[in-house]
Amino acid sequence: MNLTYLILLPLFTAALVLLARNASQVKVISLLGSVAQLILSVGLYVAYRKEMVAGNTAQMFFEADYKWFPAWNIGFHIGVDGISVAMILLTAFVVVAGVLVSWNVSKMTKEFYFLLILLSLGAYGFFISLDLFVLFFFLEIAVIPKYLLIGVWGSGKKEYSANKLALMLMGGSALVLVGLLGLYFSYAGHSFDLMKLSSIHIPIQIQKICFPLLFVGFGVFTAIFPFHTWVPDGHSSAPTAGSMFLAGISMKLGGYGCLRVATFLMPDAAKEYATIIIILSSIAIIYGAFATMMQKDLKYINAYSSVSHCGFVLLGIGMLTQTALTGAVMQMVSHGLMTALFFAVIGMIYERTHTRMVQEMGGLLKVMPFIATTLFIVGLCSLGLPGLSGFVAEMTIFVGSWSHPDNFHRIATIIACMSIVVTAVYILRAIGQTAMGPLKEEYSTLTDAKWNEKAAVIVLLAGILAIGIAPGWLNDLVRPATEIITQKIGAVK
């Protein structure tokens, strides 16, 4: 399978969107494009599966290396392993749902969809690139769409949030850039190529400098404590699809980068700094959970709980065991689907009630049973109910981290486990107040979900259930890739 299609298809869709005559054409083109992309991504999974069954043991599948700036030894080197395939699937699901949810956007529709597609292009490119320059290029390509989506179509203090998000993410990428340059010059003959860099042992002094730069730089994207402050503002000000993309895809770029670039290339430093990573992520988990309890706005609730949930991703990476790493990837996929659905539902409620304040709502189950039920399901997924994806991912991380026999790791695990209780408190309280109780009079005429909203919910729910009920396929997909990383870590003395 040729991976360039994954980039060319969104590019083609975006070009068609620009050429479209009116708003309805724009929507149809975007929907068709994103559905085609979903089919392509599922096709990629099937093809990947076939190769694995056939006994292909290569580290990266479907590799291709095109010339790009040979003067700098930069190549357009692409390829996928299990982790990338999982993330690509996640992206494809979220994009389809995001396009469907935004069906009612009437302000500058063409620009809106163009930016959405551009954002997804950045994510696809990021997940398939095996050259760190290309990876960085795609990481930054999403800055403009994010900034404009929040600033133009957002709500509340949108300009402030858009600025904060753009500057903080840019700051993160500045750190990443310096770290990447350090890696580039550490290879004899200079190379950004991930596979080439992974084949050599990077000097320990360089690892000690570059690892924190890269980990914190990517960490800003995935809300590492204390650089998580853009998350609540950015998510709550963004339009519905914007929040979905931010939390569902964009935050995962960071986690993927931490794992694929920082930990994979610099195992010595990863071991060295693991303690700090675990401490920071434990703080993020607990702090995020308690901060959520104080929130009254549904979007802020989900934003802060994202900080907490993404803490699990970093915790899993910090534990450095194979099970924990697998769990971290599963948590990325699970959280991506779940939080996208959560934001979608919040958007649907907000469109009808024109408020996101929990105490102003009540009894919505009576007028909009479909939306309220989805809210229940996604809430339960968030607090880790067995049968849904959240449980599978978090459980895998806990099992992986408990396998460390020492007290430090176990205490961190216990702290992380306890946050689930806090999660249960805020989620149940928020959902209970929103969906149950007496129905307010002004809400009695509200309508339930329309076809596009139902379709978006079903797409995302399908993903959540597919992981929650039968997690084996995701596990099989991710495990070979994480095994290579743990082997590298195991080889460290």
Partner: protein, 466 residues
């Protein structure tokens, strides 16, 4: 004889155009609008002609030197001047002294061509003066405006001052080494205190021209007072050409003292970036804003120059090429708006997207390119500048440079935010674009999007550097 023409071709072409314009002016047979079309056509021919019959060689007893890299640099400057003739059609079209304006501009360009090709301090000094004095006259071209004369006065005084410093440096250099030829100086330098003093004086003269902090004080006032086309010429063509010869001077002439100028570059580039960025944040006038942003950009160029390697040269040439498109697009949009509505304040740009979506997108693209965000070409330009600078493995400095990129993003976003997000009851009304303006802006936008993604361009420049 044939070789003479092909080596000196860029200069001869410019001279020919100057003469044609002179005759047109004297005979007074053409209307200004037709004249502008003629000028644009000639400049386009000149730009295209730059790619044919190129030969390497020395002339005038080794005073003048040309090779394919220099031809490339000259083509970039030609392109910039052609784009200026398109982008500022709106404001130049009705100017009664249009031919004089271009005669002056082309004289300055001729000076720059000789300057970047010079192989001798004498040639260098003469051509530098030829490249400076016409620009002062260009700054004075809004004849009714007081600010314009003030700008010209400031420009000529500061140039005279810097020329004085340069001449003093050159005379000391001659005293110390007994030669003014670029090829002989490096062997005569011994790193003594006097040599360092010489380097400081010559460096200072360059710092004036490139508006490196602390020699930048004239920049913002001149940009603000001068006609927009002159400011654009100063910030792109003049800066670019001086950056090219600056590289030759440091890499070739002062090669034995690379330790010294490396330290000077590092310190001054930090000062330039910080001051440029901090002042750009606080500007309300779009011209002053672009002046300080161009100061900050020079700081980034210095990062690459400090590397002292072939990558440093190629990335600077590449960056200047990208800078031509991005900065001229920004100036072009600002000039169209200023000519039509008379508004130069950034506040006036609020809500521009509602009325002028095309202009807003072009300006946004230009600003993103200046800030270095992909997929625009500026991303590649900036990244290569920084990567070249990282050859010395001084990561603290590189991290500082990267952090400065965030600060610069902040103030470029201020304008984007004003155009796309801020509400305004009375935005600037729909602007009618002259076809030349439109073509120019489309070329710039196309360049901003394409130049980075087509990696062949960088590789070509790199192969010329060797």
């Amino acid at each position: 004889m044939n070789e003479f023409f092909s080596i000196l071709k860029p200069e001869l072409l410019i001279t020919a155009i100057i003469f044609i314009l002179l005759f047109v002016k004297i005979t007074k047979t053409m209307k200004t609008s037709a004249l502008l079309l003629l000028i644009q056509g000639l400049l386009l021919l000149n730009f295209v002609g730059g790619f044919f019959f190129n030969t390497e060689g020395n002339l005038f007893g080794d005073m003048y030197f040309s090779n394919h890299l220099l031809m490339m640099q000259k083509s970039i400057l030609n392109l910039a001047v052609f784009l200026i003739s398109l982008l500022f059609a709106n404001c130049l079209r009705h100017h009664e002294h249009l031919p004089e304006y271009f005669i002056l501009m082309l004289s300055a360009l001729l000076g720059m061509f000789f300057m970047i090709s010079s192989q001798n301090m004498l040639m260098f000094y003469l051509s530098l003066e030829l490249a400076t004095i016409p620009v002062a006259a260009m700054a004075n071209f809004d004849l009714e405006k007081k600010a314009s004369s003030e700008a010209a006065m400031k420009m000529i005084l500061s140039s005279a001052f810097s020329s004085g410093i340069l001449l003093f440096g050159i005379s000391m250099l001659y005293g110390a080494t007994g030669t003014i030829s670029f090829n002989e100086i490096p062997f005569a330098l011994d790193g003594s205190v006097l040599n360092i003093l010489i380097l400081v004086f010559i460096f200072t003269a360059f710092a004036f021209k490139l508006s490196i902090v602390p020699f930048h004080l004239w920049t913002a006032d001149v940009y603000e007072g001068a006609p927009m086309a002159t400011s654009a010429f100063l910030s792109v063509v003049s800066k670019g050409s001086v950056a090219f010869i600056f590289i030759t001077m440091l890499y070739k002439v002062f090669q034995p003292m690379s330790e010294t100028w490396y330290n000077m570059l590092i310190i001054l580039s930090i000062a330039t970036m910080v001051i440029g960025n901090l002042f750009a944040m606080r500007q309300q006038n779009i011209k002053r804003f672009l002046a300080f942003s161009s100061i900050a950009q020079v700081g980034f160029i210095m990062v690459a120059i400090s590397s002292g390697s072939a990558k440093g040269i190629s990335s600077v040439v590449y960056f200047v090429l990208i800078y031509v498109f991005s900065n001229l697009a920004a100036f072009g949009v600002a000039s169209v708006i200023a000519t039509q509505s008379g508004k130069e304040r950034i506040d006036a740009y609020k809500g521009l997207y509602k009325t002028n979506p095309f202009l807003s997108w072009v300006l946004a693209l230009a600003l993103f390119s200046l800030a270095g965000i992909p997929p625009t070409a500026g991303f590649f330009g900036k990244l290569f500048l920084i990567s070249a600078g990282a050859f010395k493995a001084n990561y603290g400095y590189i991290a500082f440079v990267a952090l400065n990129m965030i600060v610069s993003l902040y103030y470029y976003l201020v304008i984007v935010r004003a155009m796309f997000m801020d509400r305004n009851e009375q935005p600037i009304e729909k602007i009618h674009l002259h076809p030349a303006n439109k073509i120019g802006l489309i070329i710039c936008a196309g360049g901003i999007v394409c130049i980075g993604l087509i990696s062949w361009i960088f590789d070509h420049i790199q192969s010329l550097v060797g």
